[in-house]
Symmetry: C2
Subunit: 226 residues, 2 copies
């Protein structure tokens, strides 16, 4: 009964909807022990998953390797690489009403993965990288695409890059943040977003705890699109 109560969403505003959310980094192996990755902690994506669940949505969270517990009532699919994330998203997306691409998917992966640990004999080394699948672009290009919300984590020209990505990937909204700011974004407890919508509107969500920002973002999506 306690479990049932904990699983009870706090509102039913999103009842009947399925939200598919990606979170965390991906890791791209160089050899059995080394990899390429990025500073995403997964906190923002997990906060969005929790907020959507608590407003009554069915939530599937496709998550790269992070150290966060799954929010109550949320289904998590754990993945490591961008390709695994692509596969998990594509399996779920036909059933999703909303797709929130919050994961920091590695854009590139090593062209080859060494089968054994590479010995450090050479003074220098080169790693050749090739492009990873672009999951958000694939979802945006689907004939019956869900509502698509992207993220743009940039260190410069934030608005320009965000609006460009919104258009190129056929998104309904993009959430831009400046990860060069030390107290927000990657691996911090707070965030600050500017939401750019397809229709030209923009909304600033000022610096606050990630769960507060996530709740405001989910409410904004609900109010604008449903």
């Amino acid at each position: 009964a306690i479990i049932d109560e904990l699983l009870q969403p706090v509102s039913q505003a999103l009842a009947g909807q399925h939200w598919l959310i990606t979170a965390g980094p991906t890791r791209e192996a160089i050899d059995p022990v080394r990899f390429l990755s990025n500073n995403s902690s997964g906190k923002m994506g997990y906060a969005i998953a929790k907020a959507a669940q608590r407003m009554g949505a069915k939530v599937t969270l496709v998550s790269g390797p992070v150290s966060i517990d799954v929010p109550a009532g949320v289904s998590r699919v754990a993945v490591v690489t961008a390709e695994q994330m692509e596969q998990a998203v594509m399996q779920q997306v036909s059933d999703a009403d909303v797709f929130v691409a919050c994961a920091a998917v590695a854009d590139y992966k090593p062209a080859a993965i060494a089968e054994q640990k590479i010995k450090k004999n050479a003074k220098t080394m080169e790693i050749k990288l090739i492009k990873n699948p672009d999951i958000l672009q694939q979802v945006g290009a689907l004939k019956n695409k869900p509502l698509c919300i992207g993220f743009a984590a940039e260190t410069e020209n934030v608005e320009y890059y965000a609006k460009d990505k919104l258009q190129r990937k056929n998104l309904d909204m993009i959430c831009a943040n400046n990860v060069a700011k030390k107290d927000i974004g990657f691996d911090s407890e707070e965030n600050e977003l500017v939401l750019y919508c397809k229709n030209g509107d923009s909304v600033a969500l000022d610096q606050n705890a990630k769960y507060t920002i996530a709740s405001d973002l989910v409410s904004e999506i609900k109010n604008r699109f449903f």
Copy 2:
């Protein structure tokens, strides 16, 4: 009083000794969001720190980015890169009786760190890598070196590589593990080690929980060298 009791070591076998232990991976930045790293969880190094503290040693843990709480009574110095780890170790080492190099230090780092997030325009990319400092080799070469314990995490030719490292780096003992085995080593709860000593002795510590292996290792070091 409860805190005092928790901080109370369970034996005084290592009383008066200072153990300097490294743990976890290092991260080497490519740009403000991307990095190179490895699968080390830090669990083994933290378990050794806890075991040494509970036998009465003063313990300093120099740790790369991990998601583990500091064991009670242990001082942690948090670092990110191999160079930061080198600096922290070199600051502490003159005062150390035992140096246990359990961290999986990145052998290479990008030759240059991009100031801004690299845009993914190119279909392929190359990262040029240069060698990182070899912390264990530096400590092993010190005139008044502490007792030096290394780790060799290998995926093949484990004994050969371990013994080679023992000799090249002037170590007193090396702990070899085969990280190709799925249920032990990197990011798992258990480990299995073979200890190779300078005098030719070897000791197998069969598969067990990391804290059990750590306690056995610390006892082995105490019995052999003190």
